[in-house]
Amino acid sequence: MSAQADTAKTADEGIASDVAVPLVMSRWLQVEQVDATVATLYLQSTGKRLRVPRPLYDLLRRFQAPATLREVAGADADIARMVGAIRTLRAKGFLLAEGEAEAPPTRRLLTDPPIRLFDCPAQTLVPALANVVAIGVPCDTGDRASAGARAGPAALREASMQTLYGIDRATGQSQGWFDVDRGRAILRGVSVCDGGDVFVDHGERQAAVFDRLSEALEILTAAGALPVLLGGDASICWPALRLLQSRAPLAVVRIGVLGRRDAVETAPSAFVGAHALPRSALGLPGVSRYVHVGPCAAGAGASLAGFAHVPVEAAARDGAAALAPHLLPGQRIYLGVDMAALATPASDADGVALFDYARLHALVCGIGAAHPIAGLDLVGLNPSAPCWRTTAMTALHLLLTALSAAKDPHAPQA
């Protein structure tokens, strides 16, 4: 047999197999765009995109149920002309042989927000070289009182468009901001980036979300960036606590509302609710102290070794000095701020003392002056709440204040 005849035989056999095998469209195929001449296809499982001629798209649509190429093309079709395109679709996963195993969609850790915090640079999923990396955690099922906070990250980012991040053209460094109340520049030269939101498939187990957050945090902070979580409810700090205490010993300082004594005392479980944070955190080997600052159910946490409660009145009066008896000097801390501790126009605190901005501002500055801050969160951001615009602007001020407390050297107390 000649070489030419041999090649033709091989090609015929290949075509024969393509023609005979029942094929089916991938279940992960999405159509992004179709017009009279072309179609753009997207394969959700791999993230691949493919632009195909409209006739090929029309042919592909006929594989919604398993069928052979001969069946869908018809007896008179020039099969040989179609085989190349069919092979391409198969090679890229848009078409499969009937019964062929198909990879599930690529596991996504983060999603890209439409607006970045302060319009700072976006951060891809690699170790951030910026000083601060923000991650949104749109999750609010860990605290009954935080309904609506899953929309907090997006809403806070939108509000932050009034407080933009800027780069000095001459130095290439962050311009920072100016704190009028302290009469000083803040965060000058401190770079900030936004890693996006952790992917949440509402209805899945909390552990699945938190595992994704843990993995993203580990990658993003591998080069030393300070993690800042935007909640969400207070429970979203749990993956950050796990990670940061594994790197070095840590104390937790949470400014917020701890209203359920029973939950504080609940035995550790796979699900970490906001009110069970003290017990869960103190169960971590690297966490020795947990200081709750703000309203707290009477007696909550009393049986927990390492737990301390600082009431609003004491913190408002004495600032960070009120925390000193409960923390080691210079102890590395994780600082969480729950907006539930802030008095707002719509606060219905039923006689419970809450913080005003000036006191919180002073407290956060004082904490930063006394302790290195390894991680931050700002939670309880609920854009459905009355006067959200006001609360959002206050939250942004507190966030910048906390960042200043963490990153500005020798920040004097307010």
């Binding site: 009034q162 704190d179 009028v180 109340d181 126009p345 000036a358 006001t390 602007m393 206050t394």
Partner: protein, 324 residues
């Protein structure tokens, strides 16, 4: 000679009775002349972020009708002052051309209306609306210079001005500082986290932070205002802490409380010749239970009370009471 703004320029559908403090509507037959003339400017054209301040004048008027006679949010208006407030002014309603012309042209027309009020010897009280409106009101007092401007505001409003006839509430004070008859600006209530240090944007301006203002005595504030120099008072409601005045487009935490701001403003009204007043940036769409419009009305009540006090002390700030 007393001449009122052209009737066709004013809203005709202001609900009966919805005038500031229940004063007579200027067009009413029994209105007569008054020492204070109110003009509403229902505009948010100069606000780049939030619309809704266009409903501010109506909300302030409604809130003013609900003020209790004494101890409103701790403000403590005495009964005598309330009596005088009830007869001190007339209300022209809202201008009706805001959405029929360009913003710059609207400001010129507002300026002309305020000039008319000033020419009658009355004190214009302008209800906003966004703060860019204050430029027109201050510009209208060009014959009264040199003038001091007291600017209650969380912001310095000194953003860059690209020139031309562009007006925004973010650069309104920069433009006012450029008016030749404005000699000094006392800015009170600046605070929060900003892009830069804005405390020295003009040699005419002295900035006091909210923290300083909360601890400020009224006589210390008066010391910054020459006793023989007329004054214009502008109140951006965002000078008040957003916990008490959330309904405004650019809230900044850590502000003054209503009582403190009201007391400072009243002291100025009672201690200096105030030629004009405004209350700006009340946005009912963002408000909660009318807190913000009530705060604005309360502060205006304090200012009017101070004006009355000065008039009763023999100063020519207020003409004789109108006859009903």
């Amino acid at each position: 000679m007393h001449r009122r703004p052209d009737a066709h320029m004013l809203e005709r559908d202001t609900p009966p009775g919805a005038t500031l403090f229940g004063w007579p509507a200027a067009a009413a037959p029994h209105a007569g002349a008054a020492g204070i003339e109110v003009l509403g400017v229902p505009s948010d054209a100069g606000n780049g972020i939030a619309s809704g301040a266009r409903f501010g004048p109506a909300a302030i008027r409604r809130a003013s009708l609900g003020l209790p006679a004494r101890d409103v949010e701790g403000i403590g208006i005495d009964g005598g002052a309330i009596d005088r407030i009830e007869h001190a002014g007339i209300d022209h309603g809202d201008v009706d051309f805001i959405h029929d012309c360009d913003w710059a042209d609207a400001l010129l027309r507002i300026q002309a209306l305020v000039e008319g009020i000033a020419a009658r010897g009355a004190v214009p009280v302008v209800l906003g609306g966004d703060h860019a409106i204050s430029y027109a009101a201050v510009a209208a007092l060009h014959g009264a210079g040199p003038l001091s401007v007291v600017w209650f505001d969380a912001h310095t409003d000194f953003c860059a001005w690209p020139g031309g006839d562009w007006h925004s509430h973010k650069q309104v004070l920069r433009r006012i500082a450029g008016l030749p008859h404005v000699e000094r600006i006392v800015q009170i209530g600046h605070r929060g986290i900003t892009y830069d240090d804005e405390s020295a944007r003009s040699s005419k301006m002295r900035v006091s932070t909210a923290a300083e203002a909360n601890a400020m005595r009224a006589d210390a504030l008066l010391d910054r205002l020459p006793s023989r120099q007329p004054v214009y008072i502008s109140v951006d409601i965002d000078a008040v802490d957003p916990r008490w005045a959330p309904g405004t487009g650019h809230p900044v935490p850590g502000g003054l409380d209503v009582a403190t701001l009201g007391a400072l403003a009243r002291a100025i009204a009672a201690g200096r010749d105030v030629l004009g007043v405004d209350a700006m940036e009340v946005n009912p769409l963002l408000d909660h239970r009318d807190m913000t419009s009530t705060a604005a009305a309360s502060i205006l009540a304090q200012i009017v009370s101070g004006l009355s006090e000065r008039a009763n002390a023999g100063r020519p700030a207020l003409p004789p009471l109108p006859t009903a």
